[in-house]
Subunit: 437 residues, 2 copies
């Protein structure tokens, strides 16, 4: 399915000599690139972008889309100062099939599109994504409102007093939209809403409720700020462990904001976290208390940076399977080498072989924690949820090491690590046996 | 979809006072249970079994099917000495939808059914699975032959001189079969083939070529022997490593044949292999050369038995996701403890701390070999194939340990293990980076 993106306008509150709104950068990505990459996540790989104001610059900026892994063609709407219905109409000859219609400056949750694409339409129907529970940040006065009935749009406009929701600017259209727009224009209304109202009057305009998923019209500086908070909010993962949630994530998000300005890639960040882990291991290896403290701090820093690769990848829509795998494998190596450094450091201080055995068990348990859950995912084709697993994740393990190093008690630290990790691995064997046997 | 299973007859070469053929045991499972469980793998959970000869015994034996995880109802064909078309006809009132028709004594590859179920049929069509490249073991004289044209059956019968393939006794039927059978019976032919010929004459009998997948009609003792070889042949896995293929698998298959007679479960076998691994670790732990040799032998035995759990599960159609996961996790624990035992044994002999470091690296590498490939499976939702991975599986690792233990060179053994496993893990990181970056 193709995507049609409207990028012709100036933006209501923008000065005419300002930069094009679609090109405004937000957390490492311009608005229009973010819209394109979000749509690509739902499998849309071919786009028509309607340009007008500052059109040449947008065309030069996006090119043929190859760098984004998509194909982009352009349509020019010289009449961009008039209603945006005219922009949609420029695509008339190029859209014989249903297509997605998006605004270049409306950001949204990728789940919206993947669900929208599942709706089946009659030949003469269109769908508008409607937000029934709009956020408190929304500039309600300027928003386009809709009245709904039985899952269909009944009326649409900026000045409706009673309304059921907000027009999000995300559409699934059939070519029927073009006839409706021409009819609206013939009646003197050149806006997209005009065409939608024509379809609504005929009962051919479905509504899709996006509640629970975010979208935002980035219309002014205030909205830009809100969009930033909104995107950053998405980084907090439900699967975050307790240390990650309360300590690592708040710090890593700050670091991520800085990293986004450097253009460093997620895999490079994974490697950076790994190298810091190696330095932690080397520091532990030396043995003296001062090295121990340094090792503990480095291990905790590595743990924090370990969150940044995923954050940058998600914010720049650069998530890759290889990246996830690469990060996980490096983490296992860093885990092992940090434990090895701790053993060696304690050994040269106390020459008690017990540390080797305890350290060995700590490594075994740490690995088994990762392994039981990853092997579960690959075997059962689903995530091992909290129902079966007490999360004994990397954030907790490295935090135990951090605290243990500061206390100077390496043997006890590794003993605790060995105990809790192996206990949890064996517990999973038993719990899942009762579940599946 | 329901399955209709014909279990009424006596079998051509069987004496009347013999046991019912469907109840004959083959590698731990009676023929009819094997047919039912094979069909269950393709999602068929409801069966109608037509009984005749020895019917009470079969009904008592299978019961309502709950123990097999299916639902079984019975139909009685008192006329079981006459043509088998009469058996099919007893189901007339119970089959309003398309259904699978199977013979209680025909064993087959479960892939046949899962592909057969994907065929879409017109209301008056049926499909017969045809073997175009029948095995040399087939008793061609007694087989039912078919002539085909354009993917449809043209003629069917035992005495066709020229033929294109063999009737495998596996059908996907619509209720149209019943009318065809009645028409055939009216013409004096009471066999199922008679009904099929009627449909074939009308061009309503499709053929599905099963080439490359096994099936066998277990008609006499010779066929029973062939069926046994055939099923055992399926146990050799393409993913078997070199040690597994040449040494472990041939031995484990023999042991599996014995284990099948005991009723021991696959998970119990996994546990058995694990416990032998623990004894290997304990033996290594002691240090003396004689214990070293014993440890090496036990490790290799554990490696061989490790193949039996999967073999028993596959032969008894008891494969479970939990079983696969449980086995993998126990393997990782056994791997770790065996390496730990080796380190300790060497340490009490030579008191050289180098063994601890080398052993630690060997454990890290062994784990990373399992982890990189399992994490790959769960991330990419596909198996890491030979294209990216040099297989450094458990069979090879335990064989290195076996040979190393006999040679008495523990430090060198662990050094080699550390080297090859870590080299392979790092190589995967690099190769996959080029593939996916």
């Amino acid at each position: 399915m193709k995507g049609l993106i409207l990028a012709a306008g100036l933006g209501i509150r923008q000065k005419e000599n300002g930069d094009s709104k679609p090109l405004i950068s937000l957390l490492g990505l311009s608005l229009i690139k973010r819209v394109i990459l979000t749509a690509r996540k739902s499998g849309i790989k071919e786009f028509l972008v309607v340009v007008g104001y500052n059109g040449k610059k947008i065309r030069k900026y996006l090119g043929d889309g190859r760098k984004l892994g998509v194909k982009i063609n352009y349509l020019v709407n010289e009449q961009w100062k008039r209603g945006n219905g005219l922009s949609v109409l420029t695509a008339r000859d190029f859209m014989q099939e249903p297509f997605i219609l998006l605004m270049a400056d409306h950001l949204f949750d990728d789940k919206i599109l993947s669900q929208l694409l599942e709706i089946t339409l009659e030949k003469d129907e269109c769908v508008l994504c409607v937000d029934r529970n709009h956020s408190k940040h929304l500039d309600i006065e300027d928003a386009t409102k809709v009245v709904m009935e039985d899952g269909r749009i009944k009326d649409i406009g900026k000045h409706l007093i009673d309304h059921d929701g907000i027009d999000t600017g995300i559409f699934l259209c059939t070519p029927a939209i073009f006839d409706a727009l021409e009819e609206s224009i013939a009646h003197g209304n050149e806006t997209l809403s005009g065409g939608i109202r024509i379809l609504a009057n005929r009962g051919r305009m479905k509504a899709f409720d996006i509640s629970g998923k975010y979208w935002i019209d980035v219309d002014d500086d205030k909205a830009l700020k809100n969009a930033k908070s909104l995107l950053i909010e998405q980084l907090r993962k439900q699967t975050d462990g307790p240390v990650s949630k309360t300590l690592n994530r708040p710090i890593s998000i700050r670091i991520t904001e800085l990293l986004l300005k450097t253009g460093i890639s997620p895999n490079q960040i994974s490697l950076m976290s790994f190298i810091i882990g190696i330095f932690a291991a080397l520091s532990f290896y030396m043995g003296d208390y001062i090295y121990l403290v340094a090792g503990g701090i480095l291990a905790q820093i590595s743990s924090i940076i370990d969150g940044c690769d995923g954050e940058v990848a998600r914010l720049k829509l650069q998530e890759s399977k290889y990246g996830g795998w690469f990060d996980a494998v490096l983490d296992r190596y860093a885990d092992a080498l940090i434990i090895f450094g701790m053993i060696h450091g304690d050994w040269i201080l106390h020459h008690d072989t017990l540390i080797w055995s305890i350290g060995f068990m700590a490594l075994m348990g740490s690995f088994l924690n990762s392994y039981t859950s990853d092997k579960y995912d690959s075997t059962f084709k689903e995530k091992m949820t909290d129902r079966y697993a007490i999360r004994m994740g990397r954030d907790i393990r490295l935090f135990i090491i951090f605290i243990g190093a500061l206390s100077g008690q390496i043997l006890w630290t590794l003993a605790i690590l060995a105990l809790v990790t192996n206990f949890e691995a064996v517990r999973r064997l038993v719990v899942l046996r009762y579940r599946y046997a």
